[in-house]
């Protein structure tokens, strides 16, 4: 290993003694031995997934040469085998992660395969959302019985697909409320994952899956007052940012913090959408009655998110210095005010543009201060995105737009050059 080469070098140079070299070797060998062999777990899971997918692929094959009884028995076979393996693992191999995860994965796909095959054999009418709901409902208990995180991830994916089918693809969206119930049932497992090891691989995947699922599915609450959903979305993204700043994520890499990335990107994308003048003109034309608004799902979900986010914000801002608070965390308050206080569309449009520009500038400043090139460039990207948006909806001449782009481009180069020069000077 690499460090052994370094140890030999240090020994030769007389920096460390033989005893110290032995102690270091011994320490690293012990550390390696206590780590679970993740390669076996990964291959076992892949094996389980491939076998499971093979079972699901069988739904593409129709066996009309066999009798219905034989076909039904064959349809049940993978399910029964999967259940037998699960019972074996439960009794004998419960502490083995590879066994638990791969057997649960296989069983989950066997459940889906069985239901699909039976539907085909008997020409049972039904829609994809009912199928997904049944599949997830039968798979969900396995998360807790087998302590399987892969089952949890598959269930999150399943209920997200279910919510898309019922909430977006059909006219009657009331069935999509099951999504929230099912997600709530998965949360305790996620909490226990965080408690055990918040930086482990499965926890990290959950840190992405859950906020992504929320982001995709929040829109199912929209009905006749979808204009109010912007409040729900900005509050939700602000909540993600708050969660992303929690101690759980303090020592991890940014790429493992799905909440922070989705929260920030989501907020910027929403603000850029709101920076167009047509947005506030359409808002101004919003004419639903007071009773309709007050009893709408959209208002209830928006209020719920505003309250939850505010409670989180109140708790975290008490302990945080003001200058380290990200402006995106407070955007939802401004959006709520814009909705509550009637304003002239052009004024609100300009204010939104100023807010986006300010966030860009503050992000650049924070990047410079923390000496992080990624944050600095993110700030520059925000400003560039704003300029591109204005390119499409203003009546500025091509020359002026060209000058703006050149200006931003130069800004990119100069900011990065100065940053790198300063960094090199400090390192010297």
């Amino acid at each position: 290993m690499k460090f052994q080469k370094e140890i030999s070098e240090l020994l030769t140079a007389g920096v460390i003694s033989n005893d110290t070299a032995d102690n270091i070797n011994h320490y690293y060998l012990q550390k390696k031995a206590s780590k679970p062999n993740w390669l076996i777990t990964v291959f076992a899971i892949l094996g389980g997934l491939l076998i499971g997918l093979g079972v699901v692929l069988i739904i593409a094959h129709n066996w009309d040469d066999l009798s219905k009884t034989v076909r039904s028995l064959l349809a049940f076979t993978p399910l029964v085998i999967g259940q037998a393996i699960i019972i074996f693992v439960f009794n004998k191999k419960r502490k083995n992660t590879a066994w638990r995860e791969s057997s649960t994965t296989f069983l989950i796909f066997a459940i889906g395969g069985c239901i699909s095959l039976i539907s085909q054999i008997y020409n049972i009418p039904g829609n994809i959302s009912a199928f997904m709901l049944t599949w997830v409902a039968l798979s969900l208990p396995l998360i807790y019985l087998m302590k399987s995180s892969l089952a949890s991830l598959l269930c999150i994916a399943g209920i997200t697909y279910y919510a898309i089918e019922t909430g977006y693809a059909s006219y009657d969206s009331h069935e999509s409320y099951y999504y929230w119930v099912l997600l709530l049932l998965i949360v305790p497992h996620y909490m226990s994952l965080i408690k055990q090891n918040s930086t482990g691989n499965f926890a990290i995947y959950h840190h992405w899956f859950i906020p992504l699922s929320f982001t995709i599915c929040l829109g199912i609450m929209a009905d006749h007052n979808e204009e109010l959903m912007y409040i729900a979305y900005t509050s939700m993204f602000a909540l993600f940012l708050q969660i992303g700043e929690h101690n759980t994520f303090k020592n991890g890499a940014l790429r493992n913090n799905g909440y922070k990335i989705i929260g920030s990107l989501g907020t910027i994308i929403l603000l850029l959408t709101m920076s167009f003048d047509w947005f506030w003109k359409d808002m101004n034309a919003f004419e639903n009655s007071f009773i309709e608004i007050i009893t709408s799902n959209e208002l209830m979900i928006s209020l719920a998110f505003v309250v939850i986010t505010s409670l989180f914000a109140f708790k975290s801002w008490q302990q945080t210095p003001l200058k380290t608070i990200k402006p995106e965390e407070a955007i939802y308050i401004i959006v709520v005010l814009f909705y509550l206080i009637p304003g002239i569309p052009i004024v609100l449009t300009i204010l939104t543009n100023v807010i986006v520009l300010s966030i860009g500038i503050i992000t650049i400043a924070q990047g410079t201060q923390k000496r992080q090139l990624g944050i600095l460039n993110y700030g520059l990207l925000i400003i560039t995105a704003l300029v591109i948006c204005r390119f499409f909806d203003t009546d500025l001449s091509f020359i002026l737009r060209g000058i703006l782009f050149i200006g931003v481009g130069f800004g990119f180069f100069i900011a990065n050059y100065r940053f790198l020069k300063t960094k090199q000077r400090h390192e010297k």
Partner: protein
């Protein structure tokens, strides 16, 4: 140990539930086939570009709308119950569309309104649940061309045999001039 026993009991319950659900699907279908009423629904000509999705035929039915009084209030996706009568050619056509489940009969279909047209008259367009007919993927292309040709040939009589009981329906066969499509593709 106690918690271990409880977990084991829960595991057994889950395993039974996972076996029970698909088994119940079969039992319900079989009950409908054994005790239900046989209907023959005429199939309407289809757009030849895509009658086949995946490994099943999409069946469109001729009698899939019902005129109602313009004063009646109906909603899209509203659950409804259909009763049928036989026309002069022996095919089943919609007799009534009810908002409540009928008490005295078992020969009714449970479904939803697809959409409502409001031109000169008010018509409820019905979403029949038995629109898919699964076929062997090897025989599918031949079945597709026979199906398209026959449904667009006005001299050809095409229909689907469906068994209905207490709201449930089972699509048994698709026939072209009294011959099963499965026979025609052999």
């Amino acid at each position: 140990m106690k918690s271990n026993k409880l977990l084991y009991i829960l595991l057994v319950i889950v395993v039974i539930a996972q076996l029970w659900i698909p088994a119940k699907m079969i039992l319900d279908q079989q009950k409908t086939i054994d005790e239900g009423f046989t209907h023959q629904f005429r199939i309407e000509p289809i757009d030849p570009n895509d009658p086949f999705r995946g490994k099943y035929l999409i069946i469109n039915y001729e009698d899939d709308s019902f005129e109602v009084d313009t004063s009646e209030i109906w909603e899209q996706k509203q659950p409804v119950y259909l009763t049928f009568t036989i026309d002069s050619l022996g095919f089943s056509v919609i007799k009534e569309v009810l908002k409540e489940k009928p008490d005295s009969i078992t020969n009714y279909l449970s479904t939803k309104i697809n959409w409502i047209s409001n031109y000169e008259t008010k018509e409820l367009h019905i979403n029949y649940p038995f629109k898919r007919y699964y076929l062997n993927e090897v025989k599918a292309p031949k079945a597709e061309s026979i199906y398209v040709e026959s449904t667009n040939d006005s001299t050809s009589l095409c229909w689907a045999t469906v068994i209905i009981k207490e709201g449930n329906a089972v699509l048994i066969d698709v026939l072209i001039d009294s011959v099963s499509i499965l026979e025609l593709v052999k």
